[in-house]
Symmetry: C2
């Protein structure tokens, strides 16, 4: 089935006629036209469904005789496939090794899926992307033949494996000092895969809090999810150009925004938590720094934690929500509206305030069309988040900051939580499940919808203005 | 000073050269070019400053010998001029009749100011507004002569007075049954002016809670602020067309959205508060309905209350925040991003989701340019609100829902509060003061900036795409 799916998957340029479509050839020579967004949604829904069934198997969980409830299994599978990392049960103590490997498998497939799709999107929409990026991708990957597609996917898998194995070994060596080497190795691989794919699942009940001031764990984990979250296109660009100046505008903006947000995040957390005894108030200067760095960097969008999110100050929680909303880079394992979208919105805002005619970034002009699309993504994200959050206020009896934090964490596929995930009602769990799915696929499909050529209406109405603002 | 200002105020069409400017003639024949937005900001700042001084006078407050502190007086003056209605002191017991009249005066000047400015904006930008609306306004008001301006302003003042006096008399008659007629008359006028200008100041400590189930008070007050909040252009349009079909698109959208949001607001409040004993849970069916109607309609953006906002369910509070954010119509006494802006955003969102090419409302096409502007207004509002709210989390030790509610209420110049206004720290009060000022002037000036022709840059950079979403 999947074999046939891949075999007959042809990417064709129908952009000129009616948007971007992928033709799926059926046996009798008939074609079903599927929008890539539709393929995406169906594919991930199927994967989540399979994962749910696997996690419900008795061998997946420790409590003998009965597996996970459907709602919990659906939640965990969605969280894994969407590389979110929110958990209604404790991963380390609830799941057997089999269950944990199922989770890891779902995370890896999910992560690859999103990286690959990001690239495909980049290429399918090549005509609408700058010549520079297009040539870059066309040169390195011949995407218009099946071998080209296989080559791209293998390259993504290869780079992923290299990075994950390196990370896993570093972590395993570090952990071998305090646990048996088999356990250290397993821990290393689990956390490395979880980190690179920006999933944020851990094996300890308090995630990574044990190693709050440990430089190796801090640096290894953050490096893994920052590389995973920067996106394959940027990795490829840096790999080939080997010079910051020659990078594409996309890579420059993604790298700079990642740097700025990480530095600002660290500073804000350090300032906001400095005297908070429930988090870093009583730690040494060294541990304070590492904890702030980790918690300032992690919201986009890895979801690990080394301090108790529920006890952070409201300021930290609110700023973390903003960072989770912004998220990682396009075509990466991270979620959110994406750093590039955010950058364009901020630059556009500044351009309007200063009454300039062009949005310029790095001496390059951003079309108003792209600005419009970025604004649309931002606004639609807010509409989705508001809807789910508003419904949660009916199903749950919890304070606003905790509910909104959980919703934005699910939307941004971050996985940080103030600790309420397991206490949610079944309706609440389903709402958060839906939010993870929308949050992971929504912006992507939204981007597809925005980037594909619009159907020209046969009948156009006369234009009329409305007074706004 | 003000006389000379008005005498030499010429509105000139400089749109073709460099945006919209108002020429302010100085004595020696020199001209200072001021952007209308600049005049707006300066004018209101001066009015607020004068109001602050007046409210600090010992005769303004009951406590003898000392007037209001500067921060409190500034807060109250800003709240009055921006017709917000948030109060750090109890209006009825803190201010003397003189102080109350100062407040009422500031409210009325503020209200007139915003209605007049709304119209001016409509006309100054006439060239960019549909021919239909332009002819409508040009026919009825010759705005290009001083007499035309005077005629417009007098008409606004005339209609305002008629509506306010009618409302005041109805309320006075109703209240004369339970208080001395002089007090009833004063109460009638105070609440009528406060309602028509969408200010929301009341004279009782619990605002209008005494009359929670009273049909006369409910209908009179809500009618006053709905008429005030629909905008002068719509009133004029309805007045002259006398037929719903012939109305301009702007009027149709403003009226329909107002109706929809009022009905939805009422239903949501009724559902969310039905069993809440702290608000309407123990009231009769009749009182339940009136309270829900009042509290569902009032967030856009009158700011009165008949039930305790602080004891409403989180669902009601969150939905009220959304309504406060949306606000009233353009060119009215109400604030927020405006119903028309919101309508365009929602229609655009739907258009993108369904992959259509045009945003159509009432068989009229909305230009993507206008959509872009609406999205910009929405996003910039969110940026402003987030900034002030985030700073408040540092200065105040209060739960998120209360702080965010206060911030959005200030932004939308609504004046509803969960009851924390008086308990804010001086920094908190100053932040809310700033939010009221930005909330009142921001969207207007933003609209100016967005609508005026952009300076063409001499040097344009090459365009480059970025991957978003
Ligand atoms: K995550
Ligand atoms: K108000």
């Amino acid at each position: 089935m999947i074999h046939k799916f891949i075999q007959y998957l042809h990417i064709s340029y129908l952009t000129k006629q009616r948007g971007v479509f992928v033709e799926l050839k059926k046996e009798k020579g008939k074609f079903i036209k599927l929008h890539p967004a539709q393929i995406l949604v169906i594919g991930f829904a199927v994967l989540i469904f399979l994962g749910t069934l696997l996690l419900m198997l008795p061998i997946s969980t420790y409590e003998e005789g009965k597996g996970l409830h459907f709602v919990d299994a659906l939640f965990e599978a969605t969280s894994a496939v969407c590389v979110t990392g929110l958990a209604v049960v404790d991963t380390g103590t609830t799941f057997t090794i089999f269950g944990q490997l199922v989770m890891l498998f779902l995370v890896q497939i999910g992560g690859w899926g999103f990286m690959t799709i990001g690239i495909f999107m980049f290429i399918i929409l090549g005509k609408k992307i700058g010549l520079k990026e297009r040539l870059l991708l066309q040169d390195s990957l011949n995407l218009f033949t099946l071998s080209g597609v296989v080559k791209l996917v293998s390259r993504i898998i290869f780079i992923t494996l290299i990075v994950e194995i390196t990370g896993a070994l570093i972590l395993a060596i570090r952990w071998s000092f305090e646990m048996a080497w088999t356990k250290a190795l397993y821990y290393g691989f689990f956390h490395s895969i979880s980190a690179f794919n920006n999933a944020g699942f851990g094996l300890e009940p308090d995630n990574l809090s044990k190693w709050v001031g440990d430089p190796t764990v801090n640096l290894a984990i953050t490096s893994l999810f920052i590389i995973g979250g920067i996106g394959f296109t940027v990795i490829l660009d840096v790999w080939q150009k080997k010079s910051l100046r020659k990078l594409s505008l996309h890579s420059k903006v993604a790298l700079l925004m990642t740097l700025i947000l990480n530095v600002v995040g660290t500073i804000i957390i350090l300032i906001s938590e400095f005297h908070n005894a429930a988090t870093i108030g009583n730690l040494s200067w060294n541990d304070k720094f590492w904890a702030s760095y980790f918690q300032g960097v992690v919201p986009r969008t890895a979801g690990f934690n080394t301090i108790d999110i529920g006890h952070m100050t409201l300021s930290s929680q609110v700023f973390t929500m903003a960072l989770m909303f912004i998220g990682a880079s396009s075509g990466s394992t991270g979620g959110g509206i994406k750093v590039t979208t955010f950058a364009i919105i901020i630059f556009a805002f500044w351009t309007v305030l200063t009454n300039r005619s062009d949005v310029n970034i790095f001496k390059r002009r951003i079309s108003w069309n792209l600005v419009n699309k970025s604004l649309s993504i931002g606004v639609s994200a807010i509409i989705f988040i508001f809807t789910i959050f508003f419904l949660l206020t009916y199903t749950e009896d919890m304070p606003m900051n905790k509910l909104l934090f959980e919703t934005i964490s699910a939307f941004g596929t971050v996985g940080l939580s103030t600790g309420i995930t397991g206490d949610l009602s079944p309706y609440g769990k389903l709402l958060i499940t839906l939010m993870m799915f929308i949050g992971r696929l929504g912006p992507l499909t939204m981007a597809f919808a925005l980037m594909s050529k619009r159907h020209k209406a046969r009948l156009r109405y006369a234009e009329e203005k409305i007074l706004i603002g």
